[in-house]
Amino acid sequence: MPIEKMRVRRRDVWRNFKGSLILVLCVTGIFIALLSLAALLFDAFREGLPWLNIQFLTSFASRRPEQAGILAAFFGSIWVVLLTATISFPLGVGAALYLEEYAPQNLLTSFIRLNISNLAGVPSIVYGILGLALFVEALAFGRSVLSGALTLSLLILPVIIIVSQEAIRSVPTADREGAYALGATRWQVTRDIVIPQAFPGMLTGTILALSRAIGEAAPMIAIAALVYIPFTPSGPLDRFTVLPIQIFNWVNQPQSEFRGLAAAGIIVLLAMLLSINSLAIFIRNRYQKRGR
């Protein structure tokens, strides 16, 4: 019996050790993530804050650092993100509704599902080149806000579809069954039961996807090119630039002052991302109060 007891105890020690090891690894992971975020923020604010003023926010780009500003890129980004939302949200939600509520369960549907997941993993520059060939050249929209928004829409569509599918799947089957039992048609069930319940999830997912799109530099450089834009877009067919392009541009300048400008641009971009993410969290909390 004493041998038996000792064996048990040794295993307990090993188990406890494994437990603490995992804990240490997890905490280290969080620590590294937070630390790099803090370092990034600290660096951006240290370099950028001196440059962040009204003049910076209300001027166009310039060869002279003290006169350069972010106006064109800021409004360009807002234009692109709004247009992207308008295009991608209905398309993505529509595709998700079709796949979840209407599509027959066959090989073709599984093939489509699989490839949507694959599309979500395609590097963004590939979408940039596709957009350049398709929207800028073939459809002759030029290097316009519209081309940029269409390209970003393609980029985030897979994510929106996947997130929306998840939201649709989380609608209880019992609710659908209840509506069918009252004599509802498939469209009525979709419209009155599925969409209202899945909507917050769809919207949150789309907003988060948009916040990713707003930070994309590679495909936007392919579409909009690194050129000087001394105006804000006034329509979807105008030329444009966006924050990531402007930041990229400044980082590439030889004078060290432009690094400060780039950092100030990063602060503006981060502020934009944070407001968008807060909006998503706000929407989620607002609708999630309804528990069952």
């Binding site: 609710d175 209840g178 509506a179 069918y180 039992a181 009252l182 004599g183 009525q188 039961i193 069952r292």
Partner: protein
């Protein structure tokens, strides 16, 4: 039984390769409560869902045979399945109110079928909630969320919701199995009242409940209708040995 509301003839249902309902023939009386009893998995729920064709929501299901409601075959080509489901209401095992207000839950059906304008809708909602024996408890809080109600109230709301589209027949799939004894008693009283105006079919595997609330009882076993008749007769002198064993608690 000469006068029947529902006439089920050689009904067979498969889910994939699984034969769930095996050649069931059954005539159901109007304005009576018919209980469908039997051990779990014997096909009770599938049988009643064949009446409002709700089995069709499961893509692998296949149904043969005929079910006549007022002499009309619900599996006939000319049948509008959505209209059929309006005429045959259903209440489920677990209360499933929609995540909407109490009012909107009851008004949901009438709105789907465009049965009323706004004023008439108020009247329909009140009438249905009275029918579901819920009106007095909720008349001052119609705008409240349906989930703020207790389990028993939610189930009565689901009954009111089914009544709102003016069905003739009400199917109930173990309506009390998720409820406490007090709520169960309320629902049972309500079922007895509903009998006066509707044809009610209740699935249950609670023997006492079947005895208390039903006029007729059907006993099913592995997809077959084993015995069917007046509840009193079935409980007092069952003809089939299986039924006797079930009633006396030898299996279940």
């Amino acid at each position: 039984m000469d006068k029947e509301k529902i006439d089920i003839r050689s009904l067979n249902v498969w889910f994939g390769k699984k034969h769930v309902i095996k050649d069931v023939n059954m005539k159901i009386r109007p304005n009576a409560v018919t209980a469908v009893m039997g051990p779990s998995g014997c096909g009770k729920t599938t049988l009643i869902k064949a009446i409002n064709r709700l089995n069709e929501l499961i893509k692998i299901s296949r149904t043969t045979g005929e079910i006549f409601i007022d002499k009309q075959n619900v599996y006939g080509k000319e049948i509008d399945v959505f209209e059929l489901r309006r005429q045959v209401g259903m209440v489920f095992q677990k209360p499933n109110p929609f995540p909407k207000s109490i009012y909107e839950n009851v008004a949901f059906g009438p709105k789907l079928h465009k049965m009323a304008n706004d004023k008439e809708l108020d009247a329909i909602v009140e009438k249905s909630l009275r029918g579901g024996a819920l009106w007095d408890e909720v008349k001052d809080r119609l705008k409240d969320d349906a989930f703020s109600l207790s389990g028993g109230q939610q189930q009565r709301l689901c009954i009111a919701r089914a009544l709102a589209v003016e069905p003739d027949i009400i199917l109930m799939d173990e309506p009390c199995s998720a409820l406490d004894p007090a709520a169960t008693a309320e629902i049972e009283t309500l079922i007895r009242e509903l009998r006066q105006r509707y044809t009610v079919i209740v699935v249950t595997h609670n023997l006492q409940q079947a005895a208390r609330i039903s006029d007729f009882t059907a006993f099913m076993y592995v997809g077959k209708l084993v015995e069917y008749g007046l509840t009193k007769n079935l409980f007092e002198k069952p003809e089939n040995e299986l039924v006797e064993q079930y009633i006396t608690g030898k299996f279940g």
